[in-house]
Symmetry: C2
DNA sequence: ACGGGTTTACTTGTATGGAAGTATCCCGTA
DNA sequence: TACGGGATACTTCCATACAAGTAAACCCGT
């Protein structure tokens, strides 16, 4: 049974943090953009302190950088961090795929098929946000299927940098190819083949190795090593 | 050539953060212990604000929990988080081992042997801190050998929870067994066998699955699900 | 002795003022 | 026109005061 949780008004700090984080992840705040405690505080009608504390949390996530006495900036996308996150995802998700492939829950397989259908629709309609969200859910299903929800939670922090990349330039991504790879993964799981599932996941996640240089070349200002 | 970096006095916030973090990781601050902005600020002679901001950063690392209007507490060790971190480490480090095994740098092999020697000495002398530090360096060599330093940096956040565990009760760990497993890993790398290296790493990191329940049973107050 | 309501002491959250540092602009000078 | 140098307008950092909420202690009536 679910225990009830008492809803309490979120602190100003939390609200500012959530709002900023969302905007950074969606690319609405460009990497390198300059922020200001005073400015934002004035804009939303609160004091500087909660805004400042929201900045600290953002910086802790690697999404912002505060330079003492100089200013606070939206963090640029670290190529090294993206490559690292990609490697970790490949290692972990291919392991999860192996685990799941041994006895894939039917519920999970069904929901994966649903997500693929959603992705086709989003691709046809050019709905970038919907596509990315569905893609995230698809991968998350691997973790839930393996009863490793906590793993997904840990991966999310790493994924954040990769998601910024995708929002920046969704057109550079081969969406049709992505959907095909998702289908390959699902098919391997249905066949209960750990080897095929691992291969499919690794192939899928290696796609970014091709895309990253293209995107970085197109927006050099948004990246650092 | 290395560019010079101008040394600037670290902010009070940073100093408090580093100090607290170190103490939490070494287990000198027990999980669940109660903190107080006012108390710590008074003890070191600064105002509440920097201490408060250090707490925010600790909370962001999952090492503390601030409950509004109630108090700030050293975070208990989440069993789920430890298991998740362990799974991720196994997946990533076994991949790194495969990569390194293809062409292991002699420099890395030599330093691994050195660390194993250090671990034997630390074990004989009962030097817990030295043993853990050396163990960390040993695993880190895998990442450096694969030219993936950034990956190690990402893993460190996850490892922090596991390290707290080890400091809590080092006696519960089978140190001799650990050293033997390190030797197995090194031997597999010397033989340039990716398969053996992967097996050795996975076996090594699965050891914690045995130890975790024992330790959790011994210190139930320090854990949450 | 026990229960219940009130007070009181303590917690974190927010606002505000000033301190210290940085970068830019402007103006005088060669 | 090019170049220094100083005032100035920012920035984040830290200190302090107060607001709002929690929890424990306490007192009082039964």
């Amino acid at each position: 049974m679910d225990r009830i949780v008492i809803a309490t008004a979120p602190s100003v700090t939390s609200q500012v943090y959530d709002w900023m984080r969302e905007r950074v992840l969606r690319g609405e705040l460009a990497p390198g953009a300059r922020l200001s405690e005073t400015e934002i505080a004035g804009a939303i009608g609160v004091s500087r302190q909660p805004v400042r504390e929201a900045f600290i949390r953002l910086a802790s996530d690697g999404l912002a950088e505060v330079r003492p006495q100089r200013g606070t900036y939206i963090g640029k996308i670290s190529v090294a961090a993206v490559l690292s996150a990609r490697l970790i995802r490949e290692a972990v998700e291919s392991d999860l795929a192996r685990m799941v492939a041994a006895d894939p829950p039917v519920e999970m397989l069904a929901r994966m098929a649903e997500e693929i259908a959603l992705q086709e629709r989003a691709d046809a309609e050019g709905a970038v946000e919907a596509f990315i969200d569905s893609d995230d859910r698809f991968h998350r299903l691997l973790a839930t299927g393996a009863r490793q929800e906590a793993v997904w939670h840990d991966l999310e922090k790493l994924k954040s940098q990769m998601n910024r990349l995708r929002h920046m330039s969704m057109r550079a991504f081969d969406r049709a190819g992505t959907i095909g790879q998702h289908r390959d993964i699902l098919e391997a799981l249905r066949r209960r083949s750990p080897d095929a599932a691992e291969r499919a996941v690794r192939a899928h996640l290696r796609q970014m190795l091709d895309e990253l240089p293209r995107i970085a070349a197109r927006h050099p200002d948004f990246f650092t090593d």
